[in-house]
Symmetry: C2
Subunit: 196 residues, 2 copies
DNA sequence: AAGATATGAATGATCATTCATTTTTCCTTG
DNA sequence: CAAGGAAAAATGAATGATCATTCATATCTT
């Protein structure tokens, strides 16, 4: 097995374990077991336990941001763009619940060490929303009195909370696209100029 | 000093320490120091470290929910009610940042032990929003096609994320009432029937 | 066979929790 | 009202459990 491959296996195992137990309740030895690797091996690929979490963030968020940007690129209409963004977010969550769990919990953790890493990517993600809003304003489609920066927070917060719910809800199986459209258009009716 | 008083002092110290360090990085001895109390004393008032966090939740959330309900009670108009709710939420956060920090981080923690406790109160809080929506629908003011349950999540998520932002933002000092009105009315324009 | 990888038992650091001892409270009674 | 003493409350040093991390040894690879 190549080194790169083993690196991924460990990160993947870590994702599952972190999602299940939370970072502080996860044992390195459990990640090792899950990855079919000896405890010591992990330290050939990562500096320490913190580094595993940081690397997980780096990898996953870089990937997500790249994908989302590519997906949104060709869409002109800011309304459609926003709905697509919502759809994307919820789809990602739906597809990889462990990732969603890790991001949600750890995004809030306030350690100095995480702050630095989470912020860089998190702000990049928020910025995608803010740019959609700003673009819509320039095109005269969105109200001018709303701060794109604040809107981005509001929208991200909604999606994030909704994710927790959709992921947790045992009973009903929601149709992600349906919910995304609903939420997106619900925002839009608050955002679009009334005189349009 | 009476027992009840010491209990509060410890909880208060814990709130500060948890907010600063996060639950898992907080040391019981540090809470003790902050509370001007010996390590062992804490165990006369709490079963263990987990119990401190749980008690903190119980106390604070019970208080908040009671206050919010009382505040909202006399307001008839669902629109005004919703704006008032937003205002309340952000005001609480503004007034007690340590509490906000603790709730935000720990609300996401996925330990079995917290799940149980957080859910009871958290759902009660969400329910306040859902009831405002449902009431508005009954009164024919809000669109009927939106699930109050989902709306509650969306609105809570927004406020929660906004809180993080307002609390963290070093630079600008936001006027809470202004932001609350903005966010609330921004929701409303997406909620209120267009033909009104 | 030499270098690269991997192993997992042993180490040591970090706290949560306990409990033998001390201090405070407050009631009794001379 | 003061002394005494028993119960309640508080103390903090000692204990022990829990892992993250290391490293001497083993196993692969070429």
């Amino acid at each position: 097995m190549r080194g790169e491959e083993k690196y991924r296996m460990i990160l993947n195992a870590a994702k599952q374990v972190f999602a299940m137990e939370g970072f502080y309740n996860s044992k390195v030895s459990e990640i090792a077991r899950e990855a079919h690797v000896a405890d010591g091996t992990i330290y050939l690929y990562f500096k320490n336990k913190d580094d595993i979490l940081i690397s997980l963030f780096e990898e996953e968020l870089t990937r997500i941001i790249k994908t989302v940007k590519t997906d949104l690129e060709p869409i002109e209409d800011p309304c459609k763009k926003l709905i697509k963004f919502c759809d994307n977010h919820l789809t990602i969550v739906e597809a990889d619940r462990a990732l969603a769990e890790v991001i949600q919990v750890e995004l809030r953790q306030s350690n100095k060490f995480m702050r630095e890493y989470k912020n860089k990517h998190f702000l990049a993600y928020l910025n995608i929303i803010a740019e959609i809003i700003a673009q819509g304003q320039q095109m005269g489609v969105f109200r001018d009195d709303l701060k794109p920066e604040l809107c981005a927070r509001v929208i991200f917060g909604s999606l994030d909370e909704l994710s927790t719910y959709l992921v947790t809800a045992k009973r009903k199986r929601f149709d992600v696209h349906e919910v995304a459209t609903m939420v997106g258009s619900s925002f839009l009716n608050g955002l679009v100029k009334e005189n349009n």
